[in-house]
Amino acid sequence: MSTELQKPDATATAGHTMPSRESADRKQLTQGRWAYTLLAPSLILLAVVIIYPVLNAIIMSFQKDSGLDPATGFFSEGGPAGFENYTHWLLQQCTAPGGGSVACPPGTLGAQFWDSMGTTFFFTVVTVAFETVLGFWMAIIMARAFRGRSLIRAAVLVPWAIPTAVTAKLWFFIFAFEGIANKLFGTQILWTGSEWPAKWAIIIADVWKTTPFMALLILAGLQLIPDEVYEAAKVDGASTWQRFRLITLPLVKPALMVAILFRVLDALRMYDLPAIMTQGANGTTTLSILVVQQIRQGFNTAAALSTITFLVIFLVAFIFVRFLGANAVDAATSSGKAK
């Protein structure tokens, strides 16, 4: 909101003073054609990789997984499933041995659905919160001019530049019972073998790995703020906290919201770290881990789970963009509706 006050509105900057509705509409039409030409390459690239798999998954999610034909010992097509694959997850209903359905017994994937939904959201909220705060702090430090700044900028890249699979192995190794973490701190924590330490081990690894992403995006946002703004505020006697709250935060907000949005979307699909560090044990099974395990058991049921995950994430993104004001998007959209 406050950005709107500080900055001239986008439509105005673009220099369209609109004399009448009609010409505004015509303007929008020609701009629209031009806009879609510019957007076309992006949309096509995304369509190839997204639309086909998603449609494929949706169609498959309404098919039963192949079942074993006891007469031949071979699998045979499952046939149409209706919403069975969806109720399997949402209501945690499994097929009973004699037909009909029962509550999924512990030790099946179906029984884990809501738990892993909770785990996924827990990880998302906690990791993104830590990453935002830490990332902001790192960005502010990196934005200052001091000797050795480039060293810090290089160091911050390191965690992010290590491939995730290697990171996960590294942390698995660090958090082993006889590993360096317990040795350095003189503790005897079962990092990967008990509920909360396992969660924290994953959170620490994830925060370590992805804070640089936040920091770099926020830094880029900070660099857009002219020094004069701060100087003017100082002259007006604003305290450090006031300067942060009234200048830095609103001006960085667009970049920050984009960074948070993408971190949220990524965190909701977290897979590698828990898969390698705990294999999903001790309440660390995320939705993506569940998808992978289910793919190995039956593809169509997994397709339903992927679709559910997709819808959940879509909902989160929608809420984010619409109501929490992922500013860049929000403002861009509002200018899209002819004012």
């Binding site: 900055k7 986008a10 439509t11 900057t13 929008q28 701009q31 629209g32 957007l39 390459p41 992006s42 949309l43 690239l45 995304l46 190839v48 997204i50 086909y52 798999p53 998603v54 430090i141 001019a145 001091f146 000797r147 480039s150 810090i152 900028r153 290089a154 160091a155 911050v156 890249l157 390191v158 992010w160 530049a161 290697v166 192995k169 590294l170 190794f173 040795k183 880029a220 946002g221 660099q223 857009l224 701060y230 100087e231 100082k234 667009p254 984009v258 979307l265 699909r269 993506s288 998808v291 793919i295 997994a302 992927s306 997709f310 879509f314 963009v321 860049a328 861009a332 959209t333 200018s335």
Partner: protein, 294 residues
């Protein structure tokens, strides 16, 4: 601590330069040291492991002991079927093409989203995010079938196109947000001063956009550099990337985990990447921003 560095920090530019002791600067340095430790401590442990004799894999002495280059030799040992140099080159090709194309295409899209007025913008924005919403693990099988059917298995484009799609949403969104924050009135002003639209863009807008674009490029490049799922299914021996190659490392015996070799490979992958980014940052971004109006 170096109290002499009464450096002008951008958040505290008004402080008197001759003050005997600059608390702000000291705080900055302390923070910087904490950040360094936080970011580098695990990496340090990675290095220690990478340089450690495989017979001491589980040794937890926190400094370099039993130092050897063997693990690095293993990484590049062609007789074991490792072609890590080739894999590095592949990652570089895939990453570079992905980044360049994504940026190019993303700049068009971001410009349209930030500066143009058109219908269904919200739908388009939602669609672009779509690539970041479907569980990546569930994309692999359909894409595998799609690309093998059109004979793209083991080609670079089979790796590059999905990678572009994975980094595009972020590219478009960050560029859009930055484009919206840019003082476009300067472009108008330059044109009034007699610049053509192209000149105005090159001389005014580009330098301003450089840091943000560069950040986006780093993010895109590293994301592509780290991509594993697609590469593991759609690359063959000649297009295999480093992340896949690392997953192929094995201990000398079944069940033996090749920690030391994996850490050596991780080091080989990480250090050049960081240097590359730094060099680019110095040479290119500094060059571009030098003439900025800021």
């Amino acid at each position: 601590m170096s109290t002499a560095t009464a450096s002008k920090t951008s958040t505290a530019p008004a402080e008197k330069p001759k003050r005997p002791f600059n608390w702000g600067s000291l705080r900055t340095y302390i923070s910087a040291v904490i950040i360094l430790i936080w970011c580098l401590a695990p990496f340090y442990w990675m290095l220690v492991t990478a340089f450690r004799d495989v017979g001491y894999t589980f040794d937890t002495t926190p400094f370099f002991t039993h130092i050897t280059w063997d693990n690095f030799a293993t990484v590049f040992d062609e007789s074991l079927g490792n072609h890590f140099g080739r894999n590095l080159l592949n990652s570089l090709i895939v990453g570079a093409v992905t980044t360049v194309v994504a940026l190019l295409v993303g700049v068009f899209a971001a410009y349209a989203l930030a500066r143009l007025n058109f219908r269904f913008k919200f739908v388009v924005l939602g669609f672009i995010l779509g690539a970041s919403m479907f569980p990546g693990v569930a994309l692999v099988t359909p894409l595998f079938q799609l690309f093998t059917n059109i004979g793209w298995f083991g080609t670079y484009q089979a790796l590059i196109i999905p990678n572009i799609s994975f980094v595009l949403p972020l590219t478009v969104y960050t560029l859009t947000s930055f484009f919206r924050e840019m003082p476009w009135e300067l472009e108008e002003a330059a044109r009034i001063d007699g610049c053509t639209q192209g000149q105005a863009f090159r001389k005014v807008i580009l330098p301003l956009a450089a840091p943000a674009t560069f950040t986006t490029a780093i993010l895109a490049f590293i994301a592509s550099w780290n991509e594993f799922l697609i590469a593991s299914q759609l690359s063959n021996d000649s297009t295999k990337t480093v992340t896949v190659a690392i997953a192929y490392f094995a201990g000398a015996q079944p069940h033996q985990e090749p920690y030391t070799a994996v850490m050596a490979a991780g080091t080989v992958v990480t250090i050049p990447l960081v240097i590359l980014v730094l060099v680019f940052q110095r040479k290119i971004v500094a060059g571009l921003t030098a003439g900025a109006v800021k």
